[in-house]
């Protein structure tokens, strides 16, 4: 039996960086993966969806490019070609991961891992069973989307993974669930001219977003993209046949080519046989960890979606690195608390730290500063004048506590705010930082000025008495 210092189970965006970091720290490392390197993110999530969204976004821009002075006679798209390009991107990146692992000396096992005991793991592949020894284990098995039991089993009813395998675009889609995944696909399809209806049982789409951001996102999805959004209602009387899927929501009869179920993801723990380690999952099926990434069993760590935290690839990566360092060194590092997120809808959204509403709930006295892209030269020049950035800062100490951005390139723009907040910058410091002109990022500086009560490119609500300190 081959024994490793660290065995990582799951080669997603949390698992493979953990394996590489452990190897960098001198450990012998095995990485077990039952499907493809890169996990859901690379193969059936973030990356392939972004490849499709890029094309759909370009297409939408081309169709509305007359006001930019372009004359495009007949813009069209070939969904099969889009899907093929997406697969190429995925294959290329997957190969990159393989090479990185090899270069770092990580031994990859293909198959499904299950515990025989805390330190013995069986890797079950089609051809054979291999037993490996593990001093420390990092569980990075992730989560998976599935079609819930209440939906009919039919080829017209798909979840996100099956949806990405489609080779042609449907004419109309019913999206069940207005969360991140549902909204991203809805925007992508609407940009391609597909008729989209979203049905969300909660009061609003992407309910965890800042209220101002949500209002802007929904406004543009409805007005600009023409997406039909039904919230606070459930989809009932669902049926599917060879012609269409049908259902009713809020008294309205709905019909479409396809139903996309985007109702959250379930942790993957079933085949692990955790009972052989003494580890128990919580009521929702997640593996709970402490702030160092350690489970109830001291030699077993867990990271990413399977732990029930925020389900973002970047959070999993950070947790993977922390777990690998904690497993291989004497230094103990806590998981990062500041987890940003971005959504590739149209318009894009980026958020980090506290929103105004969360600050109120926590009883933190805050000031906010909001700046619309419309007042920014660059935004006008590139024809993306809608959306805004917003800062949330501690009213007492001026510390930046949160930031939100909605609009063009929001997912890139949020990076500055993440760095600023983690570095514990104050609004004053941010306002004094020179930003390149003309850029969209200038909005952060302007919003800081707004918060301090002395904006240059917008009219201050209260005159005089700036709060600059």
């Amino acid at each position: 039996m081959e024994t490793f210092d660290v065995v990582v189970i799951g080669a997603g965006p949390g698992g493979y960086p953990a394996a590489i970091r452990a190897a960098q720290l001198g450990a012998s490392v095995a990485l077990v993966e039952r499907e493809h390197l890169g996990g859901a993110c690379l193969n059936w999530g973030c990356i392939p969806s972004k490849a499709l969204i890029h094309t759909s976004s370009l297409y939408a821009q081309m169709r509305s490019s007359a006001n930019l002075g372009l004359k495009i006679e007949s813009a069209n798209f070939d969904y099969a070609a889009m899907a093929e390009r997406k697969d190429q991107v995925v294959r290329g990146l997957r190969n990159g991961v393989k090479q990185l692992l090899a270069a770092n000396g990580v031994k990859v096992f293909e198959g499904t891992a299950s515990f025989e005991s805390r330190k013995r793991i069986v890797v079950n592949s089609k051809s054979e069973n291999t037993v490996i020894g593990a001093e420390k284990t990092i569980l990075a098995t992730g989560a998976t989307s599935s079609v819930p039991a209440f939906l009919p089993r039919h080829e017209r009813v798909v979840e996100s993974r099956a949806f990405l395998d489609l080779k042609s675009a449907p004419r109309s889609v019913l999206v069940l669930g207005g969360g991140v995944i549902g909204c991203e696909f809805a925007c992508m399809l609407a940009q391609l001219g597909v008729q989209v209806t979203i049905v969300e049982i909660l009061e609003d789409i992407v309910a965890f977003l800042d209220a101002d951001v949500r209002r802007e996102l929904r406004r543009q999805m409805e007005k600009t993209l023409g997406i039909h959004i039904l919230t606070g209602t459930s989809l009932e009387n669902i049926s599917a046949d060879e012609h269409a899927v049908r259902g009713t929501a809020g008294g309205e009869a709905l019909e479409a080519d396809l139903l996309l179920a985007a109702l959250g993801r379930k942790p993957v723990t079933q085949e692990l046989q955790l009972e052989n380690t003494g580890l128990k999952t919580n009521q929702q099926g997640f593996i709970e960890v402490d702030e160092y990434g350690t489970t109830q069993v001291s030699t077993i760590y867990a990271i990413g979606d399977v732990t029930g935290g925020p389900q973002f690839a970047h959070a999993a990566t950070s947790q993977g690195l922390v777990a690998a360092e904690n497993a291989c060194t004497r230094r103990r590092r806590k998981n990062e608390k500041l987890i940003p997120y971005c959504i590739f809808t149209s318009p894009e959204v980026g958020e980090v730290g506290l929103s105004e509403q969360q600050a109120q709930q926590k009883g933190v006295e805050v000031k906010t500063g909001k700046f619309n892209f419309g007042a920014l030269g660059k935004a006008q020049a590139i024809g993306h004048p809608s959306g805004f950035v917003k800062w949330v800062a501690d009213a007492q100490t001026d510390q930046l506590l949160g930031a939100q951005v909605v609009g063009a390139h929001a997912t890139e723009l949020i990076a500055e705010a993440i760095t600023a907040i983690r570095a514990e910058l104050t609004t004053t410091e941010l306002a004094q930082t020179i930003h390149c002109h003309p850029t969209l990022a200038e909005a952060w500086m302007e919003a800081a000025d707004v918060l301090l009560g002395e904006p240059i490119h917008t009219i201050a609500k209260k005159k005089g008495l700036g709060a600059r300190v």
Binding site: Q396, T397, D398, Q399, A423, E424, L425, T426, E429
Partner: protein, 496 residues
């Protein structure tokens, strides 16, 4: 109507709540200026040496003005505010406060301050920066011509609140993370601003300006020499440190110097910052220290078999007569004290004073500290009367309504931790008494009875005695006298 007041405006004064009270601290106003006040409404809360109390209004009208700020200590009868009709003119009066600390000689006025001490003192100025600096019993302001006069207070008679470090006495040891202002401190405004913005304590800086005044250059040199400019302090951390008076340089004394000074490090320093204890806590500290260091304590412990008394009590309860275990102990102790007058006495080391009466103190634990209400003439009271008296006092103590007179003059104290699941403990004698009884929990234990090992309710009691007047044998006999009474069920059948 008091002198100097001719309108309907009525002054509110700091009440005298006990024989020994000379000052009171106004802790919190319960009415705001402009609010309507009815007779019996609670106007404000005060804290004396012994308790927190609520002060009710004797008159009605509108609270026109508050003169004494929250957290300020003033002599009794001081005008703290005015009640009257809305819009009425309020007499000019300035806040006065009481000095706690006369031990350090005359107060030094800050250089260049010609103002009479009529500044409203800030709560910070009142709080002693080191526990124990202020005296246990605040001295009355002497002479005290202000008493009974409202609106006619001459500035020269006013006294300012002072804390230990402001009287020229340097702090005994530096308190990490906290800035303490030195006695005579000369610093230029620019230098002070730089120190404030850098979140450092300028006190250790040697000034090179006139009369040793610290100038901006000195602060810069000091920061340079301390390696301040090499520190990586996050902006938010610096802002917080400056706001909370945390000296950034004091954060470097960690065994492992931080790579970067972040908010978390400053927040830790804030939680570690010494805070003044409440008046009650400080008085407890000083009295207990005095007692334990000046009285030679010795201890005897007896184990009382409470089995029969416990079941007798249950029987009584079933008949509708509800007594607590404490009631029986109070009675047994009162009776035993009559038999052993030496235990019910006081000594100063030279003389001994036997008390003719038994005034029983009962230690009651409250959130903010311990209070000891006193049952007067306990030897004259029947078990039922003791029960009523004790439950009334305990209820008042819990409600914070004990008057200082109900908390003084005890001749012997009982501290009962029976409800806290305690095997045994010892108590510290109350100053002015010669013994205290520490009563522990009645626990089911194996005991030998009639040559058999049986399960009994055993309660341990430990008597702490002042060995100057109580000999070991006396203490032993006294403790056993109580034990025998508690175990003798026929006695209780007679007494109930």
């Amino acid at each position: 109507m008091r002198e100097g007041i001719t309108t309907m405006v009525r002054p509110i004064t700091m009440p005298k709540l006990g024989q020994s009270e000379e000052v009171g601290t106004l802790v919190r106003w319960r009415k705001k200026v402009g609010e309507t006040v009815a007779k019996g409404d609670i106007l404000f809360e005060i804290e004396t040496d012994k308790a927190l109390l609520e002060v009710e209004s004797f008159s009605e009208g509108t609270l026109l003005k508050t003169i004494v700020q929250e957290g300020t200590t003033v002599p009794i009868n001081t005008t703290v505010g005015f009640v009257g009709d809305p819009g009425e003119a309020v007499p000019e009066i300035v806040a006065q406060t009481c000095r706690f600390d006369s031990a350090h000689g005359p107060e030094r006025q800050p250089k260049g301050s010609s103002r009479p001490a009529a500044l409203a003192p800030t709560p910070e100025a009142r709080k002693p920066e080191l526990p124990g600096v202020s005296r246990e019993t605040p001295r009355p302001p002497a002479p005290s011509p202000t008493r009974g006069h409202v609106g006619a207070v001459r500035p020269s008679t006013l006294l300012r609140a002072v804390s230990g470090s402001r009287t020229g006495e340097p702090p005994l040891h530096p308190t990490p993370g906290v800035m303490a202002a030195p006695a005579v401190f000369r610093i230029s405004p620019r230098a002070a601003k730089l120190a404030r913005e850098s979140a450092i304590n300028p006190a250790p800086i040697v000034g090179t300006g006139p009369l040793g005044r610290i100038v901006e250059r000195d602060v810069k040199n000091y920061l340079e020499s301390k390696g301040y400019y090499q520190l990586r302090i996050t902006p938010a951390a610096k802002r917080l440190a400056a706001r909370e008076n945390i000296d950034i340089l004091s954060l470097l004394h960690d065994p492992r110097p931080p790579q970067r000074i972040t908010l978390a490090r400053v927040e830790r320093a804030i939680t570690e910052k010494p805070r003044p204890m409440s008046r009650i806590r400080q008085v407890i500290a000083s009295r207990l220290t005095e007692s334990f260091t000046t009285t030679p304590h010795f201890f005897v412990t007896v184990a009382v078999d409470m089995t029969e008394l416990v079941s007798f009590r249950a029987e009584l309860k079933a008949q509708g007569a509800s007594y607590t275990v404490t009631d029986f102990i109070l009675k047994a102790v009162a009776m035993s004290l009559v038999e052993f007058p030496v235990v019910n006495s006081t000594t100063d080391g030279k003389t001994i004073r036997w008390h003719s009466k038994v005034h029983l103190g009962m230690a009651v634990n409250l959130e903010q500290g311990l209070v000891v209400p006193v049952i007067r003439n306990a030897e004259e009271l029947s078990l039922a009367e003791l029960h009523d008296c004790a439950s009334e006092l305990i209820a008042k103590a819990r409600a914070g309504r004990l008057t200082p007179d109900e908390m003084g003059g005890s001749t012997f104290t009982i501290s009962n931790m029976g409800m806290l699941d305690i095997e045994n403990f010892t108590a510290i004698i109350n100053p002015g008494e010669s013994a205290i009884l520490a009563v522990s929990s009645a626990l089911k234990q194996p005991a030998v009875k009639d040559g058999q090992i049986v399960v009994r309710d055993i309660m341990k009691m430990t008597l702490s005695s002042d060995h100057r007047i109580i000999d070991g044998a006396t203490a032993a006999r006294f403790a056993n006298a109580i034990k025998q009474k508690l175990e003798e069920i026929s006695l209780w059948k007679r007494l109930t």
